[in-house]
């Protein structure tokens, strides 16, 4: 009779240690993430203006945004910026992973070097591209003119279409190595005999990629793409430093617009509503990522 109860005591004591160890995390999550998120929902339902007490206004902020032509432009810009950036990152990352997979000499060294853009501060990345895109003395204009591809200097950051292309370029430069490294790791988990069997059957490299590599990478590809979509959709640093959302509103995205309304116009109710607008989309992506990443265990 004593043994089971002793065992139970040990289990209970163990569980208590478990709760003790995880309690700092719980405090952090509840106090600094869950509570602020709930608070954000509340703020978006008020007319909170910095310095004044908030008044409940229901969905008025959302209704105002739905009629706001600048907001429409911002949503469109965010979609263009995010989808174009992520698409290019996926393709470049896939090519990088395939090339590294074939590179038998110095693979891990090359992988490490190619990952460097991803570890340096984003603001530095944006500053450097800002200078390279400089209209008069930037590397890009001077070089294009030098080799004769371009006659007049182009104000890359000063025109709507080229400004959008510029922020996408900087984002891709920073983000594609992440896809490359993740996809390479995914490729290394695909069993070799699949390729050998396919080679024996006379499958071409393209067929092997299509029928073995791509299905084998399905999970990694899905998860990395969704994570990248979430963070690119909410990118602030690159756009803010490169263009401040300009010229005009040509590159204004959700994050920069939220910041502008919140900390320049000081209208917090509306600002939070801007960032909340995409919450349903982000929530769906988060749920999918979470399901796939916790399913493996």
């Amino acid at each position: 009779m004593t043994r089971p109860s002793a065992l139970r005591r040990v289990r209970v004591a163990d569980a208590l240690v478990g709760y003790l160890f995880v309690s700092p995390l719980c405090v952090l999550v509840l106090g600094l993430v869950a509570y602020p998120l709930g608070n954000a929902v509340w703020i978006s339902l008020t007319d909170k203006y910095v310095g004044y007490a908030p008044r409940f206004v229901g969905l008025a902020n959302y209704a105002a945004l739905a009629r706001d032509p600048i907001f429409h432009k911002v949503v469109w810009n965010s979609a263009v910026f995010t989808l174009a950036s992520v698409a290019v990152k996926v393709v470049l990352g896939m090519l990088m992973a395939l090339a590294l997979q074939r590179a038998l000499v110095a693979r891990s060294f090359l992988r490490a070097v190619l990952l460097v853009p991803w570890v340096i501060p984003t603001v530095i990345t944006a500053l450097t591209w800002h200078w390279m895109f400089n209209a008069l003395w930037g590397l890009i204009n001077v070089t294009l003119q030098g080799v004769g591809l371009q006659r007049e200097p182009i104000a890359w950051l000063g025109q709507p279409a080229t400004a959008m292309a510029a922020v996408i370029t900087a984002n891709v430069w920073r983000g594609f190595p992440f896809f490359g490294v993740s996809l390479l790791a995914g490729m290394q988990t695909i069993p070799r005999d699949l390729y050998e069997a396919a080679a024996v059957d006379g499958a071409s490299p393209a067929q092997r990629f299509w029928h073995i590599t791509l299905p084998g990478l399905r999970l990694v590809l899905l998860v990395t793409t969704l994570i990248s979509l979430i963070f690119t959709l909410n990118d602030f640093n690159i756009v803010y430093v490169l263009t401040r959302g300009g010229p005009g509103t040509a590159t204004h995205v959700l994050a920069t617009y939220t910041y502008e309304i919140g900390f320049q116009a000081l209208r917090w109710g509306k600002a939070v509503a801007v960032s909340m607008f995409l919450m349903p989309v982000i929530a769906v992506m988060i749920v999918i990522v979470t399901r796939y990443l916790t399913r493996e265990e």
Partner: protein, 273 residues
């Protein structure tokens, strides 16, 4: 086969060029005078090179103070993160109790919540605690993204250690804490190193919270300070690129020594792009 090897290395060479050019341009610019920056002869390399930008940056701007602020915040956030994350990661993977699966899922969800959603309500909380416009604000805010990421990362590492090892220690009379300290922690050192490196890098690179929560120039971190320097009256590109080199260097040095652990951590399942 050989042909495709050449193609692979050719493409890698192209990517190295794409990755390398901005870094070269940073260094090249930082070694030129303002007059040299607005001249075509020579344009692609500094001649003669000058360290004037570095001297001006360290001697006449607030850059040294920003370095100190960034270092304080990044080191502080790293310490907090490693402590909270290793305890939580261990608890969530090694001890059985009701609710732990839900908690583990929550960690992942929290990691994916973008800061854009949080910065205004967090500001309200920090304001109420009278922490706005101090480095403490950042020390409180940064764990909201470093801890979930590092906990998730460490859970992978803890899971890879055989259960028998600590069970053996506990049968031999070690307590849970003793087993954690003497058996598990030493085995997880690479994981903790990776977590510390990620936490430091994420904190060192952070921009939005630092921009919003801190106003005084003497309290700014490097990214925000540089952003100010850039949108001053004149674009001081020589100094800005010198600052870029100085800011990037510690990250690259750390990364060079520890990249093996970092890539291991990145590919262990917790990732961000």
């Amino acid at each position: 086969m050989a042909g495709r090897g050449v193609l692979a290395y050719g493409f890698i060479g192209l990517l190295l060029l794409v990755v390398g050019v901005p870094f070269y341009w940073m260094v090249n610019t930082s070694l030129k005078t303002s007059a040299q920056l607005q001249s075509l002869a020579p344009y692609y390399y500094p001649s003669p090179g000058t360290l004037g930008n570095y001297r001006a940056l360290l001697g006449t701007t607030n850059f040294p103070i920003w370095i100190r602020n960034s270092a304080l915040v990044a080191v502080g956030a790293t310490l907090v993160t490693v402590l909270v994350s290793s305890l939580a990661g261990y608890s969530l993977t090694r001890i059985r109790y009701p609710g732990r699966r839900l908690l583990a899922t929550t960690v992942l969800i929290v990691y994916l919540v973008p800061p854009t959603l949080l910065f205004i309500p967090l500001y309200t909380i920090l304001k109420r605690a009278d922490l706005v416009n101090s480095l403490w604000a950042l020390l409180v805010a940064y764990p909201t993204f470093t801890v979930p990421f590092c906990t998730w990362l460490l859970m992978g590492f803890f899971r890879s250690i055989p259960r028998d090892l600590e069970e053996a220690a506990m049968v031999d009379g070690a307590t849970r804490l003793g087993a954690f300290r003497r058996v598990i922690l030493p085995l997880t050192t690479p994981g903790i190193l990776a977590a510390a490196l990620f936490a430091f890098t994420l904190a060192w690179n952070e921009f939005l919270y630092a921009l919003v929560f801190v106003h005084d120039t003497e309290l700014k971190t490097i990214p925000v300070g540089l952003n100010d320097l850039m949108f001053g009256d004149i674009f001081l590109w020589g100094q800005l690129m010198a600052a870029a080199v100085v800011t990037t260097l510690p990250v690259i040095v750390l990364y060079t020594y520890l990249q093996r652990y970092m890539v291991e951590g990145l590919t262990a399942g917790a990732v961000k792009g």
